[in-house]
């Protein structure tokens, strides 16, 4: 589904990614871990199409299409979803209005008519139920005055509504208390199926107790330096990132 080959990227002349290789297949959950500044958020931003990063080498194909050539909205319509680390506030725009616009733009992209109001509301009720989302949030201005936990849950709710084939969760667990973490994780687990895939970016093993990854990758200095199954996350938790750093330094020496 997602194939990243030798991806190198920089921002304002500063090299951030130094050759990332990653293959994600339908039905899989990949966790990407790594210390601060290792390039985790950069990777997710580049997949989603943020333009301040310059891709200097490598490729990203999504379902066989070269998405580096596509606008961010086209990538979204192709089925790429990014749950933001810091969801953005849009004053005066209700969550409902925002989502309906997003769904209809996606339908337009796929040559479909706008969604019927009744169908939309019905889907919304179902998905709110699914991820135990408070009804009042959807009529409030998008993310405005939401608590950190509410914002993250709203991201998962949007994901549920938009039904992406690839969802990237950028540190969705940061700033969540245990209860919120569980709710968000349950949401992801319910949305998981054999046709979609998740890339979960996190600092901590904690989230992976709830969302069980098929693969764990450790990103360090813009490179995936170690890959394994979920036991790698536990090992990291135990030994800390210094373990990886030392290992990498040794290889380099």
């Amino acid at each position: 589904m997602l194939s990243i080959k030798n991806l190198q990227a920089e921002i304002e002349g500063k090299q951030i990614l130094n050759g990332i290789n990653l293959e994600v297949k339908a039905g899989e959950i990949h966790a990407i871990m790594g210390p601060n500044g290792s390039g985790k958020s950069t990777l997710s931003a580049i997949i989603a199409g943020r333009q301040e990063y310059q891709v200097t080498a490598g490729s990203i194909t999504f379902n066989g299409k070269n998405i580096l050539e596509m606008s961010p909205e086209a990538r979204a319509c192709e089925g790429v979803f990014l749950a933001f680390q810091y969801p953005i506030e849009i004053p005066g725009v209700s969550s409902i209005n925002f989502l309906r616009t997003a769904i209809n733009e996606r339908r337009k992209y796929n040559g479909l008519e706008p969604i019927e109001a009744t169908d939309f509301l019905k889907t919304m009720r179902e998905k709110m139920e699914l991820i135990k989302m408070d009804k009042s949030l959807t009529s409030r201005s998008l993310n405005e005055g939401f608590s950190g936990g509410e914002k993250k849950r709203n991201e998962i709710f949007q994901m549920a509504m938009l039904e992406p084939t690839l969802a990237i969760l950028d540190e969705t667990d940061s700033g969540l208390d245990i209860d919120a973490l569980r709710l968000v994780s349950e949401g992801v687990n319910k949305l998981r199926n054999k046709d979609n895939a998740f890339v979960v970016i996190t600092h901590y093993q904690r989230l992976l107790d709830y969302i069980i990854p098929d693969f764990v990758h450790v990103l360090y200095k813009g490179r995936i330096v170690k890959s394994g199954d979920k036991s790698l996350a536990l090992e990291l938790e135990e030994k800390g990132y210094d373990w990886i750093k030392n290992e990498v330094e040794q290889v380099n020496n």
Binding site: P72, A76, P87, I88, I90, G92, N97, F98, T101, L162
Partner: protein, 483 residues
């Protein structure tokens, strides 16, 4: 978004064509160019006006000659040559109109094209329309139905003849011809406009609306609207306006006067979409308008709502004089400027009566290399015990070549007054746009969404039938203006 893309996109500013830029080819009767006592007499004569009306015009004209054009505004505009304007232009009509069947089909078509059907059976029920084409009113719909309730809704020219006692009493009572340069000019040469009188105890059963269309070249439009709501009455009134695309600037200097008596309320909404000029600022309407309402009676209320998207320059301050005890004034405004457009708009709330209250909500959106100023005065007179005002003034910038300016004036002469002023300036952030993009929403649509959200408080004030139209208009005026 990188610096380069941002600049690129701003450079693509407005590819959207002004939708209403067409002209109507119709035989016109016009006054010779220029302004003189003879022209004032000519206009008055064309309208078969009584002597007192002509005299009022002449007094205004003579006063105007002694006045100087104001220069305190926050923009420059090319010198207007008042001798180069045609002050009267009307479609030629030989017979007096009794019904729509006698209206030139070309004119009906024009209004159809603008989305205004004058055929009553085709109209949305619940909206009565007065259509003004250049200097004259073409037709007023639902007149008979309104008449049953004692409501007068007609052109000002007709009111001068049919209801002279009302016109004499109220014309110039809120905006005297001595008020300002453009109001004096308007008083001398005004050609038409709408007149509304709501009798005591009547709640007007439908929205009243006037649609103004400038068509002829080199003309100015000087309409005058007068609305009186007698004791315990209510009316909601809406005006809309468009003009063809022309390379020269055209002057639109209108006057609107509102009067509310005891417990009466007028809600006045404007959706202004005059031709804004091209993207380099060539052509477009100079919209220099004086709008003022007087809350004469106790518990009376006047509420202005304006959505200003058109005109090369918008210069106006719809205001309220709050004379009555417990009277209320409101001003809700959205002003959008793009390309080279200029807006210097706001309101004046003059508190005279005890416990008078006012509320101001102004949303200014600037894009392109436009400049958008809010200018407002809140004045509490000595006798206005316990007066209250709340002002909220928000500006939004799109791109980095535009400007937003705020000039709030506050004058308090009574210690019991409570005033609040809130202001904010924001920029449509790249983060907001990217967030929308990532959900599949293209940038143009995202801007419409964000701007409509920003203006929601004001748009909510518009009558239902027009709110949707106004939302679309906002999105269209900003199309291609990303930053």
């Amino acid at each position: 978004m990188s610096k380069e893309t941002e600049v690129d996109i701003i450079d693509q500013v407005v590819s959207q064509e002004y939708k209403y830029g067409f002209t109507t080819d119709i035989e016109m009767e016009t006054a010779p160019k220029g302004l003189s006592e003879d022209i004032v007499r000519f206009i008055s004569d064309k309208k078969n006006e009584p002597e007192w009306m002509l005299n009022w015009r002449l007094k205004a004209y003579r006063h105007w000659l002694k006045m100087e054009e104001p220069n305190w505004q926050n923009f420059n505009y090319p010198q207007i040559n008042y001798q180069d304007i045609i002050y009267y232009a009307a479609p030629k009509q030989k017979i007096q109109l009794d019904s729509l069947d006698q209206v030139d089909p070309e004119l009906l078509k024009t209004f159809e094209k603008l989305g205004i059907s004058l055929q009553e059976q085709k109209r949305l029920s619940g909206v009565a329309v007065d259509a003004v084409f250049d200097s004259v009113s073409i037709a007023t719909t639902f007149k008979d139905q309104l008449k049953e309730k004692g409501i007068i809704f007609c052109s000002v020219s007709e009111a001068v003849k049919e209801h002279p006692e009302l016109v004499k009493k109220y014309l110039g009572s809120v905006v005297p011809y001595t008020d300002n340069y453009f109001a004096a000019l308007n008083a001398a040469v005004f050609s038409d406009g709408s007149f509304v009188y709501i009798p005591k105890g009547v709640r007007c059963p439908m929205e009243l609306s006037t649609y103004f269309r400038i068509n002829a070249e080199n003309t100015g439009q000087f309409e005058r609207t007068l609305i009186i709501a007698d004791d315990d009455s209510y009316v909601s009134y809406l005006e809309g306006c468009t003009a063809p695309k022309r390379d020269e600037n055209q002057l639109h200097a209108a006057v609107v006067e509102l009067v509310t008596h005891d417990n009466a309320e007028i809600k006045y909404s404007t959706v202004q979409n005059w031709y804004p000029g091209d993207k380099n600022g060539k052509g477009g309407i100079f919209n220099f308008v004086t709008k003022r309402g007087s809350c004469e009676g106790k518990n009376s209320k006047i509420s202005w709502t304006q959505v200003e998207t058109g005109s090369a320059i918008t210069w106006k301050y719809p205001s309220c004089i709050l004379k009555g005890e417990n009277s209320t004034g409101e001003f809700f405004s959205v002003a959008v400027t793009n390309n080279a457009q200029i807006a210097d708009t706001g309101t004046k709330m003059i508190h005279i009566g005890k416990n008078s209250r006012s509320r101001i909500v102004s949303k200014g959106i600037s894009a392109g290399k436009s400049h958008n100023s809010y200018r407002g005065l809140v004045k509490i007179n000595k006798k206005a015990l316990n007066a209250r005002n709340h002002t909220q003034c928000d500006s939004m910038l799109i791109g980095n070549k535009c400007g937003a300016h705020t000039f709030p004036y506050i004058e308090v002469n009574n210690k019991t007054a409570t005033l609040e002023h809130e202001a904010s300036t924001s920029k449509i952030g790249e983060d907001q746009l990217f967030y929308c993009n990532q959900r599949g929403i293209p940038t143009d649509v995202a801007i419409g969404l964000i701007v409509n959200g920003f203006c929601r408080e004001v748009l909510n004030q518009l009558p239902m039938e027009f709110a949707v139209e106004a939302q679309k208009l906002l999105a269209v005026s900003l199309e291609g203006s990303v930053g």
